[in-house]
Symmetry: C3
Subunit: 202 residues, 3 copies
């Protein structure tokens, strides 16, 4: 079975940093950083596992995930040279986490025996809910409501992954899905890409 | 055992439409429609099943629910002749979903062996949380905070259903509960009914 | 094993009152009080048990918790002599609930076999998420974002409890942890204590 655990650590770390950056935005103290960073880092995967019935949740079984989140949140708190464009950095790390979690969510759903429909929605939920929880706790407009392609990047990445599984080795399909999701999202941020929206049609 | 599954499809579809209407309000693209429609459609039942410990969740076992949500969301996206009063339509469909989910939530709790107290709160949570998730993701004031009777309609419907179970056939009790909940909510919307609120007493 | 169940009833009642006070703030009707009071009272413990995989949730097994929440919410609704400073009362009861739930969350995690890292984060999540759900449903800025020490009080209380377990009888360690968490939070409210925040360092 394809092992995505190293990538998962990275993605959880990325999301934890975005949570900590939100905590910085809100001028929270160090324990606020740790809570917001940790909840953001593990949020998407937690909801995924709850829905799949894989309890106790992964980070209860293996607390290293919490230590990763708490550590990066603490590092962000003590980073004296925070880049001015915190929101920009948040968007990029969020994009990287989104790409990995989309594939990882779909991959885990398939591994637990679901079909492709559930895998798609599970990938998208895993990818987006960590950020949604972060934005709600930070009292910010959720990223999913922003005009630039966001949910779509997760959808497309998962579709590429699922299609790839028919012909490619799993690791290649997964890598391809992540790269496509990341590219779509990063280009969308950079060039303010958006799909036609509802209003645009009227 | 009483089978409410057909009605559940309908209610999930209604809620999915309200999620898609919210996505239209927010000018999201098609994948945003699908995510918001799906999460709204399956949200209440998902929380119900998590709380009852019935995992994997119903839509993981049976992906047809996701296909229903994704399909109606897509239909709403491509509907060229959207009525002007989108919010009104949202309120009515939300009322229909609320009525069915209240009874369905209580019914499933009873079927899993809980007593009436748990059944009542489970009915109300099932009925209201899909809409709550929709409103939070859409960054709108939750419907439960609006002045018109809302939570109350779900409560009353469930109470009628539970009372009816003592004397009526289950299907009749369930139907009666749904009709009462729907009527109460629809009349409340139409005539701006509200119960005495806290402030009103001072 | 240390039995914290009596204290848990009290803490659930405290949180239910804060939920009902929020419902009063929002001028909800009695069923709104019951829903908001109940969800706030049982919210933190519900998320704790979902994450630990202890389902059905405690209040599904034992509906007395719901009856407690519904009763105190109803009492608050009919209380004619509500103190003027509702927000202040909410803060103090929230502090008491926070202190008990922090220790109770950590205690239950340990009892289910987790290590101290998971116990810490579980204590903090149990302590804070009831209030977070209340603030989100009430459309208010979450308390965790306020400047006064909040998350930190829960963290410190749990750390004192875990440290105490090495040398003290469990009941004493738990009591000490609760008192410290409560003191830290109450003093923070009273004297507007706050830790250095991110911005303060620049």
């Amino acid at each position: 079975m394809l092992d995505l655990s190293l990538l998962e650590y990275a993605a959880i770390g990325f999301f934890a940093v975005t949570g900590a950056l939100m905590a910085a935005e809100k001028e929270m103290d160090i324990f606020g950083f740790i809570l917001l960073g940790t909840v953001t880092g593990i949020g998407g995967g937690t909801i995924r596992d709850l829905l799949l019935g894989d309890v106790p949740i992964f980070w209860v079984k293996d607390p290293i995930f919490i230590i990763v989140c708490a550590s990066v949140s603490t590092l962000v708190f003590f980073a004296r040279e925070m880049p001015e464009q915190r929101l920009k950095l948040l968007l990029w790390l969020d994009a990287a986490g989104l790409a990995v979690f989309a594939i990882r969510g779909a991959h885990k759903a398939l591994a637990m025996g679901t079909g492709p429909t559930v895998a798609i929605i599970m990938g998208v939920i895993t990818a987006t809910f960590g950020g949604i929880i972060r934005d709600i706790l930070g009292n910010e407009i959720p990223l999913i409501l922003r005009r630039e392609i966001y949910v779509t990047a997760a959808f497309i990445g998962v579709l590429v992954y699922l299609a790839g599984l028919y012909t490619l080795p799993p690791a290649v399909a997964a890598g391809l899905g992540m790269i496509v999701a990341l590219l779509v999202r990063v280009l969308a941020i950079q060039f303010h890409w958006s799909l036609p929206t509802y209003k645009a049609k009227i």
